[in-house]
């Protein structure tokens, strides 16, 4: 499990958290649960945007967070590609420049080329010079994905990636991401409350509630054999929501 992502977080105050899981390279894990279940907080803790009280986060052999050892790498030093729920694109920069900002490890002369290639990979060729306000919601989401991949991240993190687009666009984006995923070597963590996202994109599933993992396992196992009535109800709610 050296090459993958391992997460263990524990705290009582503010937002209660008690989670532990690991994701192998190339594997996708979905965190599912109602709002306030701690799934986004967990994702932010992995990205380095949230500092949990106790625990350990390691990715691809590097320790990002270890409360016992006093290690807490800031977000900019963690190779984590994060797609924000609202995308958080830089509004004054073009699609190309948004991606180029995240390419700061790439030599200056090849950045433009690399960013153009990334945008082509998410089917945005021809829209490089548009600013976010000139792009549709789906197009913005693809820029956000391209930007998250630009750092050549050791883990890809997606926070409700389709919540801001309509049903049709959502289906299309989901299909594209599933395709894209096949070539991605890193572990992926997906926060969602939509079971369709889970079945289409994830290999494994964690059901969270009030900061705790109620059940985890392969998607089909958890979906067909929920461990308790509470989990069945939560999954049901998620299905209704979608």
């Amino acid at each position: 499990m050296d090459k993958g992502l391992t997460v263990r977080l524990h705290q009582q105050a503010e937002i209660p958290l008690d989670v532990a899981f690991s994701v192998a390279p190339g594997e996708a894990m979905a965190l599912v649960g109602p709002s306030g279940s701690g799934k986004t907080t967990t994702l932010r803790a992995i990205a380095g945007l949230y500092h949990a009280a106790e625990g350990r986060i390691a990715c691809n052999g590097a320790t990002w967070f270890d409360s016992a050892a006093g290690i807490h790498l800031p977000a900019r030093q963690r190779r984590a590609g994060l797609v924000f729920q609202s995308y958080a694109l830089f509004p004054h920069l073009t699609a190309l420049a948004n991606v180029m900002e995240a390419l700061n490890d790439t030599p200056r002369e090849t950045r433009r080329e690399a960013a153009t290639a990334l945008l082509a990979r998410v089917h945005l060729d021809g829209l490089e010079d548009r600013r976010p306000a000139q792009l549709s919601g789906g197009e913005q989401q693809r820029v956000a994905v391209a930007r998250a991949l630009a750092r050549r991240p050791d883990v890809l993190l997606l926070d409700e990636p389709f919540s801001a687009v309509d049903r049709v666009t959502r289906r299309k984006l989901r299909r594209e991401l599933a395709e894209l995923r096949r070539d991605l070597p890193m572990p992926m963590v997906l926060v969602t409350h939509d079971l369709d996202d889970v079945t289409r994109l994830a290999d494994r599933l964690c059901v969270m509630h009030k900061g705790r993992i109620l059940q985890s396992g392969s998607v089909s196992d958890v979906m067909t054999r929920p461990a308790s009535a509470e989990i069945a109800e939560l999954l049901d709610l998620a299905a209704d929501d979608a």
């Binding site: 990205a47 380095g48 945007l49 800031p74 977000a75 900019r76 030093q77 984590a80 590609g81 994060l82 924000f84 609202s86 958080a88 694109l89 830089f90 509004p91 004054h92 900002e101 995240a102 700061n104 490890d105 600013r131 306000a133 930007r147 998250a148 630009a150 750092r151």
Partner: protein, 222 residues
């Protein structure tokens, strides 16, 4: 028309802007994001010159600059001259009374950028300085422009503090606002009227230019 006073005032305004705005950018940025406990007190302190009468600010500055106070003594020892009734003293006073005019619009602008873009920048691996330079400054630009214009225009118009710490020494501390006052007392209403009109036009032009620029920026990111 007292051109000496006019250029002295422009110089005072220009230097105030050049020295104060970079500091206001750092302060405004810090205040916009900090969750420090004493933040409200710091903000209140910085806003004080806005609500205090110029005579109160002038009085304290006069005391602090004087050769009786440690600050005045220190300055005298360092630079071999006193602060009161000198251009340097006037500049220092101008920097202090303009703090809220510079910091507040800039702080509001950084607050409007919001924490999410800062997080996005961090997660893209951008350093603090690069985030400030590439993301926050371009987005906060209208606020910085407003702070700059307010500071400059306010320096042109400041009277009470200048009168108290500057006196009215031609070529040293006589700003255009003071020159107008002096000309009125010398029954020279023609010159006073001329200078008042020039001051009015310069202030109007400065503010109009900033509005035009802000509008253009607004269209660009819209």
């Amino acid at each position: 028309m007292d051109w000496e006073a006019f250029w002295l005032t422009i110089r005072l305004g220009g230097l105030t802007v050049l020295l104060l705005i970079p500091a206001a950018i750092l302060t405004g940025r810090w205040l916009a994001a900090t969750r420090m406990r004493g933040r409200a007190i710091v903000e209140a302190g910085l806003a004080l010159p806005l609500v205090l009468p110029p005579t109160v600010v002038g009085f304290y500055l006069m005391i602090a600059f004087g050769s009786g106070a440690w600050f005045g003594q220190m300055f005298e020892r360092l630079f071999g001259q006193t602060l009161v009734f000198t251009f340097e003293g006037l500049l220092l006073a101008s920097l202090i009374v303009n703090i809220p005019f510079a910091v507040q619009p800039i702080q509001r602008a950084f607050e409007a950028v919001g924490p999410e873009l800062r997080e996005a920048a961090a997660s893209c691996g951008l350093s603090r300085w690069r985030t400030l330079w590439r993301i926050e400054l371009p987005l906060a630009w209208p606020g910085i422009l407003t702070g700059t214009v307010l500071t400059f225009a306010h320096t042109l118009g400041e009277f009470g503090v200048v009168l108290m710490v500057g006196g009215s020494i031609p070529g040293e501390t006589r700003t255009i606002a003071i020159a107008i006052y002096d000309r009125v007392q010398a029954f020279d209403e023609a010159a006073a009227g001329q200078m008042a009109a020039v001051l009015l036009l310069v202030s109007l032009a400065t503010i109009a230019a900033s509005y035009m620029l802000t509008q253009r920026i607004g269209r660009r990111y819209g």
